[in-house]
Amino acid sequence: MNLKIVVASIIIVGALIFGASTFLESNIEYMDFERAQTVNKKVQVKGKWVKEKEAKFDAAKSQFTFYMVDDNEQEVKVVLDGAKPNNFDIATEVVAKGRFKDGYFHANELLTKCPSKYEGDGAAVKKTL
């Protein structure tokens, strides 16, 4: 009986350590561009995309390039692997996940925050009158 408890606790503790370390490893840290430039790992940066500058899809490389300012108003060119995200045009805020490379931020994932278009706002109701 005692042996069973020992074995079981070892398994449980082992599993928890395994889970916790994987969790910490795969949890992507939030930071601004300034810090992101100094660390060589996958991070995520929150900011806005610069509507005045070009945002285009390069079909040959299948990359989407745009400019983004973080919360400290630092502007950085972002190259995203893949096509323009669905909600990009209406996004008020974006989160880029990736790392710095040769002076630009190479993102492999882009999250978009949209104005709460599914919650009725005054402008929307006026359109349907």
Binding site: F23, S26, F57, A59, S62, K84, G122, V125
Partner: protein
């Protein structure tokens, strides 16, 4: 309003029913039990009536209700219009409450026959009350002018041009304008999956509350053993419904949302997977308890967690705590829902576990009699693996909350977290699903077991070698494939024997075959898929992944969508795939739907990325010039001066225009011409001196008023230095992929569901005999 009043009445009567049922439990009384039953039925009738009202308001486009306005519109086809019933928070709680109420009517009779009515219905009715309470807080019948009082509420005379209005308070001449159109259903949801998937998923959510209610009822009755028999069919039913709902969601994502896969480890997907895993684990420990009475406490804990985790899942996905980390866009429903959900989780957890700890001492302790080489122990290990998997997924999914508490910022884990943590457990589950079938209860003889292992293990090894040759060479995958194949062969061998004996008992073997096939399908279609981004220039064949593809053009489809036709050729067979892209609204998001060629051994999956229109084409380098007015274009000042018209035999109608161009300070005159002979217009371009830049007439817009006459010209030969060269022809950019053996996933799912179904029938017959 009427609808809201019915909901409040339903809430009151379900609360009353809970209290009365509890009193009956304390002090048995047939009279009072009948009253409690009546109040429960009244509450159900109330929710059915309220649902009917909501549906009626949706079908008749009564946009004076905020919910109807917010999610539906007049242009939706009937099936989608009906589905807007549960497109938003309020309506989906309504659907959940509706199904809970109706299943409760069945359970009422089921438990009454088995002497469990008072205790079970007391708990179940409490759960029903909670769902109705959500509707009291988030009222689906909220008038639209309460949401938009500044825009819609007015005092005084109604202007003659306003035809759509409602008197809010005629005595105070208060009236509200009512929209004539609704905001419509989110374009992503506008397909047939929206009609079926939420219904099944919410039936699954509903059925997860049954094991909880049984567990609590059993503890109230101090029945720690026989409740398992009564509860088992429902636990299996819950697993079947929720499992079906989850996989349908995956198929929806795969088939229409174009995420490229059927599973993205998204919080919304995960949070319904977690209670499912726990529920499936409890099926296994319940089986062990039926056989030899062990795992009494484990079964209480797991059964209660089925529902508590559904509540937690609801909290995660509905309260706004996930922030922007999920692709499912949920609007922050406000603090009310947030705190109410937290309160309810706390309440039900406290109720269940409070009771468990108070009964802990008196629960019988059955000494473990089985050895390590027994079916019980395999069941226990299998259930543990499922529970560990659910814990890992739960932790990963809760990452936004954990990081928010620890670091003050919301961030999600990388999807690789889930793969890394669940893969070893998947291997364990597969191996146990195989070995478990070969073991005897209590104790197995090791040498007999080894003998039985030989054939399936040998076949699995052979299978693994074949897949290795086919290209599955990653070590982790070799192990996973071997384990899954072992489960497949063992259960097939055992299953065939059972079917010859008593087919009713084959549920377990069939479900395990299903799981094994799903695992193999996951490996093949997700790990060994082949993805390529391709530029398909219109009319030109492109070869990739063993297929020849040609983009042949697009056509408009129903409801403002565009289909892009791609001819796919493989070994002489031709298919047309038509992925779809369209703008949800003028400033809305771009929606992309893939198209799939289904083949027996693989899917060919075409996901549209974008349509590139040639630069220098129609839209980009055309200028319209008003006569005499100078336009600046690409650094040139261009002025249309006028034209000379002549009619000759050789040229027919002949028109020479005069255009003045100032470029780099130098003035030049160019004369592009247009002639028309026999109805065939011919255009001749005119170029600038020493330059590639040329002008071509595209259209003349003569006017009686000289100053309004204009001409449209195309400016050719502009090279944008530094800018990337655009494509020469219209180009469709796609992501093409081959998903090998994805049919195994769907086939496995069907078998898993069939296995559940057979088990339900068997267990119901068993419990009915008594």
């Amino acid at each position: 309003m009427f609808g809201a009043a019915i909901i409040k009445i339903a809430f009151a009567s379900s609360i009353l029913s809970t209290v009365l049922y509890f009193l009956v439990h304390r002090n048995p009384s047939e009279q009072m039990k009948k009253i409690a039953r009546l109040f429960y039925e009244l509450a159900v009738v109330g929710i059915i009536t309220a649902s009917a009202f909501l549906l009626y308001f949706i079908l008749t486009h009564q946009f004076q209700y905020y919910y109807v306005w917010n999610y539906s519109s007049t242009d939706l086809p009937l099936s989608l219009l009906i589905s807007t019933f549960y497109a938003g928070q309020e309506g989906s709680f309504m659907l959940w409450a509706l199904y809970t109420g109706i299943i409760g009517l069945i359970l009422l009779r089921y438990t009454a026959k088995r002497g469990y009515e008072a205790e079970f219905m007391a708990v179940f009715s409490a759960i029903f009350s909670f769902l109705i309470l959500m509707l009291v807080v988030k009222n689906p019948f909220k008038p639209i002018w309460e949401q938009f009082s500044t825009e819609l509420l007015h005092v005084g005379e109604i202007p003659a041009n306003i035809t759509s209005y409602i008197w809010v308070d005629q005595a105070r001449s208060l009236w509200a304008q009512v929209p004539q159109e609704g905001k419509g259903l989110n374009a992503l949801l506008q397909n047939y999956w929206m009609v079926i998937h939420p219904q099944i998923l919410f039936t699954g959510f509903t059925s997860m509350s049954i094991p909880f209610a049984y567990a609590v009822a059993a503890m109230l009755k101090k029945d720690y053993v026989s409740w398992i028999r009564v509860a088992t069919p429902w636990t299996v039913f819950g697993s079947m419904m929720l499992g079906t709902g989850i996989i349908l969601g995956g198929y929806w994502a795969y088939e229409t949302l174009g995420w490229g896969g059927y599973w993205g480890w998204d919080p919304v997907e995960n949070s319904s997977l977690v209670p499912w895993l726990v529920c499936v684990a409890s099926i296994h420990t319940m089986l062990a308890q039926r056989k030899n009475g062990t795992y009494i406490k484990t079964n209480f804990v797991l059964s209660m967690f089925c529902f508590i985790l559904v509540l937690y899942s609801t909290f995660l996905t509905r309260s706004g705590v996930l922030g922007e980390t999920s692709v499912h866009s949920f609007v922050d429903p406000g603090m009310w829902v947030y705190w109410l959900l937290l309160l309810v989780i706390g309440l039900f957890t406290a109720l269940g576990f409070g009771l468990l700890f108070s009964r802990w001492k008196e629960m019988p302790v059955v000494p473990v009699q089985h050895t390590l080489v027994s079916r019980e122990f395999a069941l226990f290990l299998g259930a543990s693996s499922l529970v560990f998997a659910s814990i890992f997924i739960l932790i990963g999914t809760s990452s936004p909350i954990i990081t928010n508490i620890l670091k003050g910022k919301i961030s999600a884990v990388d999807p690789s977290f889930y793969v890394t943590t669940t893969l070893p457990l998947g291997v364990a589950i597969a191996l146990l699903a195989g070995i478990g079938q070969l073991l005897w209860w209590q104790n197995s003889k090791t040498d007999a077991l080894l003998k039985q292992l030989l054939l399936p293990a040998g076949l699995a090894a052979l299978f693994t070698v074949v897949t290795f040759i086919m290209g599955a060479t990653h070590l982790s995958m070799i192990i996973f494939i071997f384990a899954s194949a072992f489960a497949l062969f063992t259960n097939t061998i055992v299953g065939l024997k059972i079917i010859q004996g008593n087919p009713k008992m084959a549920g377990g073997a069939i479900a395990h075959i299903g799981i094994a096939l799903m695992f193999l399908g996951f490996v093949a279609s997700a790990k060994y898929d082949n993805v390529k981004t391709l530029n398909l220039e219109q009319g030109k064949s492109v070869e990739a992944l063993g297929y020849t593809m040609k983009y042949v053009g697009y056509q408009p489809m129903e409801r403002g969508r565009f289909g892009f036709n791609v001819e796919v050729e493989k070994d002489g067979h031709k298919f047309i795939v038509t992925p779809v892209m369209f703008k949800e609204s003028e400033e809305g998001s771009l929606i992309r739907n893939p198209d799939i060629v289904n083949m027996l051994t693989k899917d060919f999956y075409v996901s549209p990325l974008s349509l590139e229109v040639p630069e220098g084409g129609q839209h980009n380098h055309e200028v319209t010039l008003l006569k005499g007015k100078t336009e600046t274009y690409e650094g040139m000042q261009i002025t249309y001066k006028g034209y000379d018209f002549s009619q000759t035999k050789e040229k027919g109608n002949y028109l020479v225009t005069t255009i003045e161009v100032v470029r780099d300070g130098k003035k030049e005159i160019v004369r592009p011409t247009m002639s028309n002979k026999g109805g065939q217009p011919t255009f001749t371009e005119a170029s600038l001196n020493n330059s590639e830049i040329a002008f071509l007439i595209k259209g003349m817009n003569p006017s009686k008023n000289e100053n309004e006459a204009s001409i449209t010209i195309e400016v050719k030969g502009i090279h944008d230095e530094g800018k990337p060269q655009g494509p020469k022809a219209e180009t469709l950019v796609i992501e093409a992929s081959v998903k090998p053996y994805i049919n195994l996933v769907w086939m496995g799912t069907a078998l898993l569901i069939a296995g559940f179904l057979i088990t339900i029938v068997r267990r119901i017959q068993e419990v009915s005999k008594k």
